[in-house]
Structure formats: C-alpha cells, structure tokens
Amino acid sequence: MPYLGMQPHPSSMTRRDSLRLGGLTAFGLGLGDWFNLRTRAAAPPVKARACILIWLDGGPSHLETFDPKPDAPQEVRGPFAAIPTSVPGIHLAEVLPNTAKIMDKIAIVRSITSPLGEHGLANHYLLTGYKPTAALQYPSFGSVVAHHQPRGVMPAYVALPDIKQLPAAGSGFMGRAMQPFAINGDPAKGDFRVRDLEFSPQVPEDRIRRRQGFLSQLDRFHRAADEAAAPVDGAFEQAFRLVTSPKAKQAFDLSQETPETRARYGPRTIGQSCLLARRLVEAGAAFVTINNTGWDTHADLSLRLKDGYAGAKVGVGLVPSFDMAFAALVGDLRDRGLLDQTLVIAMGEFGRTPKLNTSRGRDHWPRVFSAAFAGGGIGGGQVIGASDRVGESPAARPVTPSDLAATIYTLLGVDPKSELTTPDGRPIRINQDGTLVRELLA
C-alpha cells in the first residue's frame, strides 16, 4: 500500500531545492532526472521514505536486551537468560520473546563503540553522528531528514511526546523551523488528543486562512526595510498547512484504530506511541522520534527492566513494554506493506557496564553496545559485529555512532557527504567521518 498521497504544498520546495533545481535545469537536466539523482549509480537504491526512531533514553543495557551473555560469569550475565529466535544461531534476552519471533526482519549491530559516557554528550553523538563541540550545535537526524523533505501538510519531524529533556534530538544550528513537532501528551491515556490541532469553534477555517494572509503580509512589510533579508522561517506556514488539512489531522487521532490494533501494540506509552508513529509516517511524516525514558538503570535491573513494579506476575517493565511495541510496529508495517519504506531503529546513547554493581544495576558503558534495525531496506535476520565474551569491548567490526549516522542517512536517501549551511553561511557536511555499514543493507 502506498503512502496516503499527501501532496506537497504548491509553493513547497525549499529554497535550497529550488536553487539546486535551477542549477540543474541550467545544465539541461529535467525534474525527472533530478529525482533520479537521488539514487545515483554508486549509492545503493533507496527504499526508505520515513524513519521511526525508538529512542531508549538513558542507555539500555545491551546485556539484558540484544546482546545476552549466557556463558559469562554470574556478575556479568545478569538476571535474564537468553532465548533462541526465529533465526538459528541468534539469541536475545528472554525478555524479548516477541522480537525473537520476528528476528528474520531485524538486524542487530552489536559492536557500536563510543568514548562518551555522559548522557548529554552521548545523546548528541548518537542522535547527530557528531561528537559535541563548543563551536556548533549539530542538528539531529530528524531535523536533517526533515530539511530534505519537500514541505507537506504533515510536519516532517515529530517527537512523541517531546524532547524537552533531549535537546540533542532538536535542530541545532538549523533553527526553529526544523525543530520537531512535540505532541506534548501521552498517547496511552484514554482522553489523548493532540492539543490545539482542531479549529477553535469561534475561529473557523476561513478566518484561519485570512490570518495567514495578514501575517505573511505583515512580515513582508517588516522585511521591506531590509531587502536582502532571508525569508522568515516557515514555522507558521507549517502550522497553517497542518490545521487546514483534515486528513493530516486524522493521522494524529488514535481513536480511528480498532481496539484489536491498539491492543496489539500494548497499553503502555511506548506501544501507543509506536502506533501513533505508524499513523504519522503513513500520512507523510518523514521522521518520528519516540522518546522513551527510564533506561538509566543504575539499580535493580530486574525490577526496572522486567517486572515494572514489585511483585508483578507479568512483566510490565521497560523491556517487555518495548518488546511488545517494537514487534507490533514491525509486524504491522509488514502487514500493511510499509516495512520496506519505513526504517525502524531502536537504540539509546550507550550500553551498561559488564559487571553488575552493588545495587544490582549497571552503570554507563559506551565502549560497546547494540542497536536494532528493521525495514527501510536493511537486511533482516542478521547480527553485525560482536562484543567480546563479557560485553566489554567490540570483538569484531567496531561501528562508531558516526558510521551509524552515515548508514541511517544513506538508507533514508540523504547523501552523508552533502552539505548543510549554518545561519552564518558556513558549509557543514551532514556526516563528517562515518563509513557506511554496508552489511546492514539488504
């Protein structure tokens, strides 16, 4: 099933695009050629049109999820056993039974390595592909991908529920216009709806359109004194496009899903967020970040990761909730024929110490950790790289966050070698020194 044909807004090409188009046309290339350039001969064909990033904030333990060490000593092994998956030879932690069943759709990178073990710094590295520097705040994947979208009615980049505590997922030097749309609410709540999406009864659509006209004229007047000024950022234009499209607004409405579908994703925030993310990318959003917090498990792994609360009969902790949501999302996308076009990523900013600490938890460990991928042109059923016997260092095929960034961009059809321009006019490469993790591609 194709994406619901959300049409780009007529005057929607970014200024950059039109400049580029202008340049190409001057050399005798037509529009079709330009679109074909997206998949240049050298680069692998691009299948993904959207990305859902399930951000496991705080640093999920690789040992309790995608990289179990059943043969390691007890103080490394941790509280969970390993289980086989649908792919012979690949094991996951026992708290991921649903994911294990669809392992053939999933690729795991087990050898991500980074020197940054502090949340803020590591967030920036993992979400932008750049180590933090004083000189510049780099944009996150979501913002860069949004920048490459023709402007449509759907916000290109959406955050569920917000990134208030995760500034690295923001737009960095790209400014307000590329900040994600934060829905500021919990999709798992019964009365969930995105605030202020519907017209106020007193101010119907014709008045909203009138306001849009007035506002753009006022900003033109204000700029008149400064003729060469850059156009005002299109933030309000996005708001007008969104509220005047009933179809786009429906995408935010979870009540349109059947109870069965809602149940499939699980009743908790991460599940309903994954379901909402699926609706959003179906409607044309290019990047959705689900900010799932709580993974900074310095104490009581078993309680936090599995049970959820003391004495739980069925685990409702972080991993089972994630497992249900992730497997449902991948399965649902596949059922709808959307998996190939949608890249799903599950990762956090680092892994956790190989040895349990005295509080039965694990501390920050960036030297080796894992991430999971599905759809969007990746090859499922594989493990890339490996950590050593105790999950302490990469044992094979080390992958840096910068490599991951290059790979994610490539999968999404953004050339990692192309450049962005900062507000003061300096060119910045989208990815500095990452190499494509080619094995990940199907």
């Binding site: 940054l116 017209f199 309000f236």
Partner: protein, 731 residues
C-alpha cells in the same frame, strides 16, 4: 554516581578534542629539537607534556575518570605525582623497563611496536620517544622538587590575519616556557594546540601553525603542563579598510566596539529611530512595551538629551525593580519548597526591596552568602536553602556570582581553567557548615569529603588559600568574592548586564567565564567590570552606560556588507522576546490578563514567584522552571509548532481578542473606525504608527467586510499583528 560530571557541551569540545579529532590527531614526528645526551630528563616538566601533547591523558583516553585499558592518567597531567605512580609502580613495573627502554609499554604501545587500541601516537625515533627512553633508562625518576613553571607565553596571543591565499591563511605558532625564573626556552613541540572550531581553523605541524579557513574571530587553546592559554585570530570580513574614526562615540563601549569592527572591516548600521529605540529600551530595561501616551510625548520632544532622560526615568521606575527581581530570581533559582511558599516570597520581596533602594550588587551578594535565620522572615537566608547540599551550593555560588562552571572540578581538576578539586571541595566545605532547614543555622561539624584524598575537605578560598578546618568562613568568602582585586565577580556581573541589553554576553555562555573562553570583546568586558567596581557596583549606572552607547542605539537593520555579522554589534541584534515578557505583552495589548494558578487576576508572568505555577500557556510556550539556574536570557523555540498551534487554535489569544472587556472589544463598543482601531493597536503593540503602505493594505482588506463581520475581521488583523515577527522580537 549518576550526577558524576555535568560537563557542558562547550567544555566537551576541547576536553574531548582527543587524539583522532583534527587538531590533536598527530603522532609526534621528528623535529629539529636537539636533545642533549647528558641532560637529565625531568618527569613533571618533560615527560608529562609529551603525554599531553600526544593525547595520552585526554578525556577520551587514559585521562578518563576510569582510565582506559587499565591505565589511568590524570586529566591533562593535572596530577604528576599520581601519573608517576601509575606509570612506574603499577602493573609490576612493566610500563617502564630501564634495561630495555624501548620495550617498556610506555613506549612500545604508543609507537605501535605492540598493539595499541589508542593507535599510533608517538613516532619511532622521534625526540619524544628518545626523551621517554632516556628517562626510563635513567630509572624513571621523579624529582623531589621538580622545576616550577614560572613563565609560559604563546605568540601570537592575538593576530589579525590578512594574508589569505586560496581561501586560507597560515599563522605560525610558538610557545615558550621558563622554569624557576630561568630564561624561557622554546616548547612549541611539546605544547598542545587545539582549535575551538576545527572547521574554521586547523592546526598543522612542522612547524606548528594555524590554518585559518574562515573569516571572523577564532579561538585556539594552547596547553602546556598546567597552563591553558587562548590565542585569538581575527580574519577580516571585508576587503577594503573601513574607517570608523568619524563615527559618533558616546563612551568607551563605542571605542572598543568600533575598533573591533575596524579590524574586522565591517561597516555599521545607521542610528535607530526614536520609536525603535523607545520600544527597545523599554523591553530591555523594564520588560514591557511602552505606553502609547509616553511614546507620543517622546516623539514630540525635541530635547537633545531625551534618550538619556528616558533611560533615567526607566531605571528609576518600579517596573524596573519588578523586572530585575524576575531576572535575579531566575539566576538564583528562587522557587517554593514543598509546604513552604512563604520563604520564596520573602526572598523575592527581599530582592525587590534591595533593588528598590539601589543596594550595590556586592552588598546584595554578601547578604545572601552570610545570612542566617528563619527563611520565612530573613529573605537572603533562603539562598542557602535553594541548594540541596553544600556541593550544589558551591556550584550555584560559582555559577551565579562568578559565571564559572565549577562542576567539572568535582571529579578532577577543571580541564580548561585553573580550578582544582581542592578548590571545588574547599568551597563546598565552607557551605557544609550550614544546616539548611527552615531556619538556616551554623552546623559546625558539617563537612564534605574530597574524593582526591578521601578525607574531609579543608575549607578553601578558591585558587587562593586554605582556611582553618573549624569555624564559619562565609564572611571571608564574601570578602574574597567582592574584593576589588577579584575580577570574577565584577566581570560576571558586567557580562550579565551586557547580555540583558543585547541578548548575549561579551563572553558567551554567560556562566562559562574562563581564560580559555575569551569571548568576542575581552578588553571591553574588563573595562566594563572595572567601571562597575569604580561606580560602587551600581547596576543601574552600568545599564545606563550601555543604553546610551551608540552601539546600543544602532539600528537592527543590517547593511549589505555587515549582514554576515552576528557577533560584533555592527547592527543591533534582533532577538525573540523571553516567554514571560511576551506573555505579558500579549496581556497588555489585548487588555485581558492571563491567569496563573490561584494568583490574583492581573498578576504578570514576570512577577510570578512560583516560576513553575500551573499555566498551560507558559508550559506550551516554554519556560524555565528554575529547578536549576536559568542562564538563558533569550527564549527556547517558543514552544515550536505546538506553541504556534496554541496561538492559532487555542483559547490563549482567541478568547482574549474576542473578550468584550478587552482592548478591541472596548474600542468597537466606542464605535471607533477600523482605521482608528488599527492605529491604536500599532501604537500599543509595535510602538509606532502605520506607514502609508500598511494603511493602504488594511483599507483594501477592510473594504467589503460586512458590518456583522467587522469584529471578527478586526480580531484576525490584530491576531496577525500580535504574531508578527516585528511584535514577537526585540529589534
């Protein structure tokens, strides 16, 4: 443990500018540096610099708190004694082998004779390797009293870079060091140079030089032993010289700014008109839009000193007190405690009273540092309660009063500044002798542990001297902080005052003052600070000086050539209004106040004592809840798309525009014409009259609107006005 080290992004850059990152990524290669054979090699002054220069003790390598690969060095060689111990005594001494120095791990690893995860750091047969080998062969000694670094200088310290060729310019770098007062020698080869922005300036070797690739001002850091020194390189924007000698100058601020602009070859924008200045200075000094009547009389006034009179009037107003109480409350993080809102109110009231009586800033700070008593009645004592423990108070103290991020020195000596772990924990030890209950009182037995020594930290005046283990040292701390020879306090205050007028500090971020972050105009900041001290720490006098400078009076409209500048004040920087100021401005223009929690109707957002009071609008529009100190004077992203939707579809503006008791409702009831009503809103919201083009536009739009639709049409027009860029920014 989780708290660990909140290293700012800014620090991280240089801290993690470790091997592999541009500047530092180079193995030491042979250079013409004669190493006299008979020379005995000193550990502290010769070996440690090699480790620093080669990246071994950087934060990403062995300098990490946990070390790397089982080998831990102090960050950038901050603790040579400990490093000597790690190298010589750990691992059964395998790191040094005096019989076969080259087989010592200390050499074999970084030269990749055997596998080294950190890669190739020290070239075989290089002077560095030879020095290491000699030192090991001599038995890896460490002098009982190593030579003291008494002199360190880098040239250039500042340089205007003119000679661009093929888009880049090369600047040679030289470092010289002197020990124990002896004549300095060249230590360039052992000095680590790091570019703050490797894409703008790259460091190359043999000979050491900076390759400048971009125009503007760039900062490099040179590190040798415990010294970190900034280097400023200025590459002019324009081709032709710019002559500012005839530009009007009101005071020394203009001299500094214009000198810098001449160096950068940037021209300046024209003087802002009266109406623009009137609105600007109201928003910056009292956080409010000007009143219509005052505007008209200002515009009609032909006195030459009318801007000065205006500034004086604003500085003397109660609105000034209210707005600056809000700013101080943000800085100090004033917020109520569970079950005690009275104390926060007392603190807020005390701050306002102090500002009202023009209490000098040093005295305000002294009272907060030294106060004891029941916080429900003794306002300044609440400062102590606002920090959960002594360490948090040490951090808040240094951040608020010195503009310094001392946090880093909790776990290790500050990598980019002079602060040591002893400074950090010594400062905390002073605050440890306080009991932070509803009544703040002395707790003589209070202490904090210094993780370096695992013993109770001794109270200490930062970077100055140890104090007695016993006793209350807050008075001594207040004396030290506010002494004229201690520049931290005055520079940090002057910088914040500047920030409040221009949206950014002369050093930015304003809580990260250190020699390695010199900012755009370090000399101007020094001068402003000295001036602040000379004027008895009177904030109003510094603000007046700034407000009357030609720099502040410049138009925000750039010229075609100074558009590239967003740091050097060639035109006034346009910036978004702070959330609370904008919220109040919307209330004022619509004539209907927003409601905040249970506060009385009409309470202004900037007057809220409880910054996190329930308010859907402030939540959506984005605000600082004062859990930490609120450093940013600007806004976040205005709530992004969610904030815009709220302004568009939410009750926030719509209800107030439609309210019969609002400004619009009243004007309509009075039967005023559309023209008249719009003019009224232009004056109140934008502080100016419509121009002809605008008037013509609105007339054409209004024609044909049916009588019954006029109110709605006006609501939409005013809505657009209140969301325009002109309204939502200070410019």
């Amino acid at each position: 443990m989780i708290r660990a080290c909140l290293v700012s992004m800014a620090l991280a850059a240089l801290w993690y500018a470790a091997p592999g990152d541009g500047a530092a990524a180079r193995a030491i290669t042979p250079v013409a540096l004669a190493v006299p054979q008979a020379f005995s090699v000193d550990f502290d002054t010769q070996i440690v610099p090699i480790l620093t220069r080669s990246g071994c003790n950087a934060g990403a390598c062995h300098g990490a708190a946990a070390g790397r690969g089982g080998f831990h060095l102090s960050l950038f060689g901050g603790d040579p004694a400990q490093d000597h111990d790690s190298i010589v005594n750990e691992l059964e001494g395998r790191r040094v082998n005096p019989l076969k120095p080259i087989e010592s791990l200390l050499i074999a690893k970084p030269s990749e004779r055997i596998k080294h995860r950190g890669g190739y750091r020290i070239e075989k047969q290089s002077p560095a390797e030879e020095l290491l080998a000699q030192w090991i062969a001599a038995g890896a000694p460490r002098a009982k009293s190593p030579p003291k670094l008494t002199f360190f200088e880098v040239t250039p310290a500042m340089r205007v870079v003119e000679e661009f060729k093929d888009g880049q310019a090369s600047v040679p770098l030289v470092a010289r060091a002197g020990f124990d007062g002896r004549p300095p020698r060249d230590v360039t080869a052992w000095t680590l140079f790091v570019s703050a922005d490797p894409m703008a300036v790259e460091i190359e070797d043999e000979p050491a030089r900076a390759i400048v690739r971009r125009r503007g001002q760039h900062i490099l850091i040179a590190r040798f032993m415990n010294r970190v020194v900034p280097i400023r390189l200025i590459a002019p924007f324009g081709q032709a010289a710019v002559d500012h000698s005839r530009q009007p100058r009101a005071n020394f601020i203009d001299d500094h700014i214009l000198d810098q602009l001449s160096m950068l070859r940037l021209d300046v924008s024209a003087r802002a008109g009266d109406a623009a200045f009137f609105r600007r200075v109201h928003l910056d000094l009292i956080g409010r839009l000007p009143e219509k009547r005052a505007l008209q009389s200002f515009l009609g006034d032909s006195a030459l000193d009318k801007r000065a009179k205006l500034v004086d009037r604003l500085l003397a107003s109660e609105e000034f007190v209210e707005f600056w109480t809000f700013k101080l409350a943000n800085l100090l993080g004033n917020r109520p405690m569970p079950n005690d809102s009275q104390s926060a109110a007392a603190f807020h009231g005390w701050l306002a009273a102090e500002l009202r009586q023009r209490r000098p800033l040093d005295q305000i700070a002294r009272q907060m540092i030294t106060a004891l008593g029941d916080t429900r009645t003794v306002g300044p004592a609440y400062f102590t309660r606002l920090s959960g423990d002594a360490r948090a108070q040490a951090e808040r103290f240094s951040q608020a009063f010195m503009g310094v991020r001392m946090q880093c020195a909790n776990c290790h000596n500050h990598p980019l500044d002079r602060w040591t772990q002893d400074d950090y924990h010594g400062l905390a030890a002073i605050f440890a002798k306080l009991e932070r209950g509803p009544v703040v009182k002395l707790a003589p037995r209070g202490a904090v542990t210094n993780p370096r020594t695992s013993e109770p930290a001794l109270p200490r005046l930062p970077a100055l001297r140890m104090l007695d283990a016993e006793g209350d040292h807050r008075q001594a701390l207040a004396d030290w902080l506010t002494a004229p020879e201690n520049s931290h306090f005055a520079r940090s205050l002057a910088n914040r005052l500047w920030q409040s007028m221009f949206g950014r500090g002369l050093v930015d971020p304003v809580d990260d003052l250190r020699s390695t972050n010199p900012g755009t105009h370090p000399e101007l900041l020094d001068r402003l600070a000295a001036d602040l001290v000379a004027r008895g720490y009177d904030a109003r006098r510094t603000l007046r000086l700034i407000a009357l400078s030609e720099t502040y009076n410049r138009s925000s409209t750039p010229t075609p050539t100074n558009r590239v500048d967003d740091l050097f004040y060639s035109h006034f920087p346009t910036r978004p209004l702070q959330t609370q100021v904008l919220a109040d401005a919307w209330s004022d223009v619509t004539g209907v106040a927003d409601r905040y929690g249970q506060e009385p109707p009409g309470t202004r957002a900037i007057a809220l004592i409880h910054a996190a009071i329930p308010s859907v609008s402030l939540d959506i529009l984005g605000r600082c809840s004062r859990q930490d100190s609120c450093q940013e004077d600007g806004t976040g992203d205005g709530g992004g798309l969610a904030g815009l939707l709220h302004r568009l579809n939410g009750p926030f503006l719509n209800e107030r525009l439609a309210s019969p008791d609002g400004r619009l409702g009243k004007l309509i009831r009075q039967g005023r014409s559309v023209d008249d009503i719009l003019e009224e809103f232009y004056l109140t919201a934008l502080g100016r009259k419509q121009d002809d083009a605008e008037r013509a536009f609105w007339r054409s739009q209004a024609s044909g609107v049916a009588d019954g639709q006029r109110a709605a049409w006006l609501e939409d027009a005013i809505w657009a006005l209140l969301n325009s860029r002109e309204f939502t920014t200070n410019h």
